[in-house]
Symmetry: C2
Subunit: 206 residues, 2 copies
């Protein structure tokens, strides 16, 4: 994660030298919008998944090409070999960053919904698709998230049944300069989605 984009010594070995014949601008022209990475970050219970799903639906209904990356489709597949240690979560986010960049290259508006607690993780994700990357802080206070506790995880973390739980026993580095804050204490699910969709629509014009 922190090492940038390392190439193994023999990386040239099996890598293709045949040029891709369809590039992103052509895909974007067909889709009538740019590819983008919309990277949600926030505490467990802040509302990232709900916001991601509603936003994907709203963008699809508006004729956009959008795809959500979340624990559901990444953790059971690409990252099924990883656990939840700090190192494994970091590697998971490295992979999500690469995955998001590929989908954006293919013309999608990617919405990633992971806590992504560390500034270095989010900076790495931005570095993989710098031309149209957006760091969105889905914000609610720890107290509110803990009171919501939709999966009962905070309760288990307080009982020390979960190690390295973000906000309790592992840090959350709130974004210093997010591209957008969506405050889910002030906005309901519908309002939060409207806010994010309005923001995205301003970023994806050709």
């Amino acid at each position: 994660m922190t090492q940038g984009n390392p190439l193994p010594p023999n990386a040239h070995r099996n890598t293709t030298e045949v040029a891709h014949l369809v590039q992103r601008p052509e895909r974007e022209a067909r889709n009538a919008h740019r590819g983008a990475v919309v990277w949600l970050t926030g505490l467990s219970g802040a509302g990232k998944s709900t916001l991601a799903m509603r936003t994907e639906r709203a963008l699809f209904d508006a004729g956009r090409y959008a795809y959500v990356l979340d624990g559901d489709n990444v953790r059971h597949g690409l990252s099924a070999d990883l656990g939840f240690s700090v190192a494994d979560r970091d590697e998971n986010l490295r992979r999500v960053a690469e995955l998001a960049a590929l989908f954006a290259d293919a013309g999608f508006i990617v919405i990633s919904a992971f806590i992504s607690p560390l500034a270095t993780e989010r900076a790495f994700a931005r570095s993989r698709f710098p031309s149209n990357f957006h760091e969105i802080h889905v914000r609610a206070s720890l107290a509110v998230c803990e009171a919501r506790d939709p999966k009962g995880l905070y309760r288990r973390a307080r009982r020390n049944e979960i190690a390295d739980f973000t906000g309790i026993s592992s840090p959350f580095e709130a974004p210093a300069a997010p591209d957008l804050v969506v405050d889910t204490e002030a906005l309901d699910a519908e309002g939060a989605c409207a806010r994010l969709v309005e923001y995205i629509e301003r970023q994806i014009g050709l």
Copy 2:
């Protein structure tokens, strides 16, 4: 790779339980074709990359949504942490299989262009998107591939400068029952592409 789809003991921990609101059938209806994984397998020099690129172009020109996964966009990113040992190549292919399944879920015709020498690797890839997976043997004899040697790799492998080189010092398990064989000794690049596109068009009808 061989372990199916293992879930770590605490896999439930961070995984989303919010349902995705846009499913594949809606994406396929909009694209007017099904998502699919077209998995090319064959020796180095058999012509996988050239075939993949031409096919992507032809499908795009026909209004399809297609995307190539190859060393160029996978090895420099998602698998940049991996080398070329047998174990690392196996892990690379596991990730490509998962990546291909995600792109197919998003409605794309994915064309993956990796040697993928082992039957177990290809069987795993199929298991990740069984509903519309196609194993394509891009076939040319070892002697012909070695004579072509577009990257000079066979020459280096014969000098023992490359370990575990498929066909020389590492096995290639030719598909026992491929969905299609594209013989690049008998067909030129244009003919090979035409053959594969014609095959794909028969697989992606709604």
